[in-house]
């Protein structure tokens, strides 16, 4: 039987073929933690009795979650992170530089087939760059800082074949919401989710990052796109010997296979309080909204704000609705400033601020009141996620979020574009 993409990646690292279920130990090329998980990883490093970081050049810290700090406790945890980084020669991406899953691909030399771990479940985002990336806990992160290695169970794999192209007003967020709704919150547990088919080439790197970002919401270990012309513009292929190395074999052993025609998809929403509670937008149209959040590691890139600005230029944010727009990195923010998107968003009534995880996880900026309803472009709608267990969160694409901000109720974006 042939190999899946993830099997090929492990084979290329280990120099031998591997089977799903096999336990392997691999060298980690890059590992990053943030202000939410890094301080505990430092405690775990000391608990393990470790004294020196094995290879600081492969470790990064990013201050992005409570950024800048909203309270004394967070400030002190960040001091701990910076002090450890200073003592051990670890590079820190500071307040305002951006969210880890955006900052790392923007600034680091990514190569296809790399093995990357992050002390954050959404590290899976980086699979868009045709590499293996997964989220780990703080003790595992401490182990990587100690030895540079980590053990993995080689995952089984799910194939998602895509054909056609998305219609205007429909985004890759709608695709991944649809998939999660179809398979359920544990439908891909432990699996490598591998995207294939001619539809893949119609998706930009940003759109692929959105898709990979959310594979963890169906339990996956990683998500991965094949290496193609789109990926090649964003990764370093100078040391790649064979471009086809990470393409799955025709007879690869996939545990599950799904196919989607992109042109048949419609705008989707994940209703409270689970990400797999997915419905077409049209079933929820008219539901009153208090706050809209456009941003996060899921949907905080240029294309996300460009479509939001297109919609909100036609009709501004409805009076009484709060619309918060947060670019995923300083670089994205600068691009949006330079191309006039920030001007359009602010003119339409959005509150645009510096890059931070912010409202996504209820730490600061936009904590919901009791009984309030939010439409968010982030990745989780769990009870209390945005800081209040009495509030409700609907996950949607930036287009749906912007259309809902304009109307003050959940709205199909095709009312404004395409359709």
């Amino acid at each position: 039987m042939g190999e899946t993409i993830v099997q090929k990646m492990f084979r290329s690292r280990l120099g031998r073929t591997v089977k799903p279920g096999e336990i392997v130990v691999v060298n980690i090329d890059l590992a990053y933690a943030h202000d939410g998980t890094g301080p505990l990883a430092i405690d775990a490093f000391h608990e393990l009795g470790s004294r020196r970081v094995y290879d600081p050049s492969r470790i990064r810290f990013v201050v992005d979650h409570a950024s800048p700090s909203p309270n004394e406790g967070a400030s002190n945890l960040q001091i701990k992170l910076r002090k450890f980084a200073g003592e051990n020669g670890i590079k820190v991406y500071e307040v305002g530089e951006g969210i880890c899953h955006q900052v790392i691909p923007e600034n680091e030399n990514l190569k296809p087939g790399m093995m990357i771990v992050g002390a954050d479940s959404h590290t899976v985002t980086l699979g868009a760059f045709s590499l293996f990336a997964t989220g780990i806990g703080s003790t595992d992160f401490a182990e990587v800082m100690t030895s540079g290695k980590l053990w993995f169970k080689v995952p089984e794999a799910m194939r998602v074949s895509l054909s056609g192209g998305l219609k205007e007003g429909v985004m890759s967020k709608d695709l991944i919401l649809r998939i999660i709704g179809d398979v359920g919150a544990d439908g891909a547990t432990y699996m490598s989710v591998e995207f294939q088919g001619e539809g893949v080439k119609t998706l930009s790197i940003a759109s692929r990052m959105t898709v990979c970002n959310m594979v963890v919401e169906m339990g996956a270990k990683n998500g991965v796109f094949p290496l193609d012309d789109v990926t090649m513009k964003h990764v370093d292929t100078s040391s790649l010997k064979d471009e086809t190395v990470f393409k799955p074999d025709e007879d690869a052993g996939y545990t599950m296979s799904l196919s989607y025609r992109l042109d048949e998809l419609e705008p989707m929403v994940a209703a409270p309080h689970n990400v797999d509670n997915v419905k077409p937008v049209k079933e929820l149209e008219g539901l009153e909204v208090n706050q809209v959040f456009i941003g996060s590691c899921t949907n905080g890139r240029e294309e996300d704000f460009e479509i939001a600005a297109r919609i909100l230029s036609k009709k501004g944010v409805k009076k009484g609705v709060r619309c918060i727009a947060i670019p995923a990195s300083r670089r994205v923010f600068l691009n949006l400033l330079r191309n006039g998107i920030v001007d359009k968003l602010v003119s339409a009534g959005c509150t645009v601020t510096h890059s931070t995880c912010g409202p996504c996880l209820g730490v600061h900026f936009g904590i919901l009141g009791s009984g309030e309803v939010a439409v968010s472009t982030s990745n989780r709608n769990f009870r209390g996620r945005m800081g209040n267990p009495e509030s409700s969160i609907y996950l949607a694409s930036p287009a749906t979020a912007a259309a809902s901000a304009a109307e003050g109720v959940i709205t199909d974006p095709r009312k404004f574009i395409g359709g």
């Binding site: 939410g36 406790g73 479940s121 989220g135 003790t139 595992d140 919150a185 544990d186 209820g362 730490v363």
Partner: protein
């Protein structure tokens, strides 16, 4: 290794945000303080009702969501001695093993226990017994390495025991 305790029943898809809301983890790194908020968004009274040694029984996909290792650490700090669930989310399961919180997957376990029943888990034999009803359920025992880590109380304690 045998663990015996009173049972708390939780549902399917218990996520890391309801185990410990992010807003607390950005206020303090003190686990005694964080443990006061365990399961708060699920039931604000649960933290005060859980006694040392109690066992959590849950449905599918326990611990889904964030990679925050605070989740198993807070549950352990709150006094929970083990979690038995139909299935676990991947990162939570690995984190729990690393921090020495015994977690085991047992098919249909949630259908065989009621709130307040007494459970006995025999890790070597791979048996969970409901002492209140007499029902016995089987599971695959941990491999030796994991069992040793569990007995030591997690990866860090296991490392120390090897050096001693």
């Amino acid at each position: 290794m045998i663990i015996r305790g009173r049972v708390w029943i939780l549902g399917d898809h218990i996520n890391t945000d309801v185990i410990i809301p992010a807003k607390y983890k950005f206020k303090t790194g003190d686990f005694k303080e964080l443990a006061k908020h365990v399961f708060e968004d699920l039931d604000p009274t649960l933290a005060s009702k859980i006694s040392r040694g109690d066992i959590v029984i849950a449905g599918r996909n326990f611990g889904m969501g964030s990679s925050r290792e605070h989740a198993p650490r807070v549950i352990k700090e709150a006094g929970v001695s083990a979690i038995v669930a139909c299935s676990f989310a991947r990162i939570f399961f690995r984190n729990a093993i690393n921090v020495g919180l015994p977690v085991i997957e047992v098919k249909d376990v949630n259908k065989n226990f009621k709130q307040g029943d007494i459970a006995l888990i025999d890790f070597e034999k791979g048996v969970v017994r409901n002492e209140t009803t007499g029902v016995e359920l089987k599971f695959s025992p941990y491999p030796e390495f994991i069992m040793n880590m569990m007995k030591a109380g997690g990866l860090a304690a296991y490392r120390k025991s090897l050096k001693a």
